[in-house]
Amino acid sequence: MTADKKVTFEEAMEQLEEIVEQLEEGDVPLEEAIDIYKKGMELSKLCHDKLKNVEAQIAEMITEDGKREPFAIAEEE
């Protein structure tokens, strides 16, 4: 799981999507399917966490940005 941290969101998503496709094709042996599914669920969690993280950062930036003071000269005009 620690190795996965270096995986980007996109890579993780691609893997996840592959897994979904694989599962969709349907002729996956059951045991294999459940293993794949599990892997998928892990990836899904990874992506979810990454998204949450990004979301938090953006939220923070918006807050900071709002505090910025405007220009005096620009207002004079």
């Binding site: 979904v20 599962l23 969709e24 899904s44 930036m61």
Partner: protein
């Protein structure tokens, strides 16, 4: 041989003419004789024959020489002639070309006069170069004349009237008679020795040629010539010309005229001085005025009156620049600010929120299908299983027994398909569709076919 030795007439004539022309005795010849055959051409030239009892000679007097003659020649008139001899080529005649002509009668005096005049003129006594300037403002005028004549009175009166500040010294001289000439000479010498006079007037009133004769004497002429004081001659009337007149520094027509020539008029002179002075003042004033106008013009010149122009425009320019500078800086600042704002706006717009949304969407999709697909697989497998299970159940051999059949298994557990497979007392098992029963064989009986 041939004709070369024969001269042409013209050559011979020219030769003869040259002989005449070269001979000094045939130039300026003085001749006296009687006029005959006198003719005056319309051009004014005079042609006549000069003759005496024994000879005759052709004479020509061109108008140039005769126009100032005081008498009109006529046939039979005795005349004194001065002229040059030469040959008139066309007629081969020698002729005298007359330069001067006097009626004969004065005789020796006149000849002497002419000869002396000629002599002195040749010596250069009459030359303009020998003439001295007459002082313009003499302090003292010497008068050489008879103290008793009208001439001295005229001279003194005139000088007194015109220029009373001039001193007059009379050098009394005899002006006629044998002693006249030496007396005049003496006076000239005396005046020169005195050195008091600035100018001398020498002369006398009018009279006959004999009366005026002293002024034609050589000693008088030479004394006048030698005099260091300038001399104005004033002999007789205007028409009288004496040798003294020729040699004098200035000839006056009359004694009164001589006085007028000797001194200026004092009023005119004063007037002249006043005039010069006023011209001086006027000129100086004009010059001053001109310079003043010039200076005033300069001082009133636009550039001088408006020195502000030297810097006003520049001032305006500085202000303009300062304004432009300010505006430039502000504009620049605004441009930069605008650029920054624009970028900021773009940055805001490019905020990866959308990216996040997309990512979320993508994620949600996959996430949803992950479980869905897995569930689908499970269901499919379940379905397959159920199907097979029911097929199996349908094919269950146990179902035959439902119709009342039972299976008998021998003691070794094998299905007993014949009665021969069992013996009496064998323990067998009967399988029913819904259970089994343990039994002991009691009897056997084979089937008779």
């Amino acid at each position: 041989m041939g004709t070369e030795r024969y001269l042409t007439v013209i050559a011979l004539t020219k030769y003869i003419k040259r002989k005449f022309d070269k001979d000094p005795h045939l130039q300026n010849v003085f001749v006296k004789g009687e006029i005959s055959n006198f003719k005056q051409h319309s051009s004014g030239h005079m042609y006549f024959t000069l003759k005496d009892e024994k000879a005759r000679i052709l004479a020509v007097m061109f108008s140039r020489y005769n126009q100032n003659m005081k008498f009109q020649p006529e046939n039979g008139m005795k005349v004194l002639i001065k002229g040059d001899l030469t040959v008139y080529e066309q007629s081969g005649q020698y002729q005298i070309y007359i330069k001067e002509m006097q009626p004969d009668g004065i005789g020796e005096l006149y000849l002497a006069y002419e000869q002396l005049k000629e002599k002195l003129e040749t010596e250069g006594l009459f030359s303009p170069k020998a003439k001295q300037d007459i002082p313009k403002y003499p302090e003292c005028v010497g008068v050489i004349t008879s103290p008793t004549g009208a001439a001295v009175r005229d001279i003194i009166t005139t000088i007194r009237r015109r220029y009373p500040i001039a001193k007059i010294i009379v050098y009394p001289a005899l002006v006629q008679g044998n002693q006249a000439a030496p007396s005049i000479v003496n006076c000239i010498k005396q005046a020169n020795a005195d050195g008091q006079a600035d100018v001398l007037i020498a002369g006398r009133g009018g009279g006959s040629i004999e009366e005026l004769w002293a002024f034609n004497e050589e000693i008088v002429a030479r004394a006048i010539y030698k005099s260091e004081l300038p001399i104005i001659s004033a002999v007789g009337h205007e028409t009288d010309f004496t040798i003294a007149d020729f040699v004098a520094d200035l000839r006056a027509p009359t004694p009164t005229g001589a006085a007028e020539l000797a001194v200026p008029h004092i009023d005119e002179l004063a007037e002249r001085i006043w005039n010069r002075q006023s011209r001086l003042i006027r000129t100086m004033r004009e010059s001053m005025s001109r310079q003043n106008i010039r200076l005033t013009r300069i001082r009133k010149s636009y550039a001088f009156r408006n020195p502000q122009k030297l810097y006003e425009q520049k001032l305006e320019q500085v202000d303009k620049y300062a304004e432009q500078l300010k505006r430039g800086a502000e504009k620049l600042f605004l441009i930069k600010q605008e650029e920054q704002k624009l970028l900021l706006k773009r940055l805001d717009r490019a905020r990866p929120q959308e990216l996040l949304q997309e990512a979320k969407q993508r994620y949600e999709n996959s996430n949803k299908y992950l479980t869905r697909n897995m569930t689908a697989i499970l269901h499919s497998k379940q379905k397959d299983f159920k199907h097979i299970l029911s097929s199996l159940e349908a094919m269950s051999p146990l179902k035959i027994m439902d119709r009342g059949y039972s299976l008998v298994y021998s003691e070794n557990g094998e299905l007993a398909k014949s009665v021969k497979a069992v013996n009496v007392n064998d323990k067998v098992k009967i399988q029913f569709s819904d259970g089994s029963a343990e039994c002991t064989v009691v009897d056997t009986e084979g089937k008779s076919i």
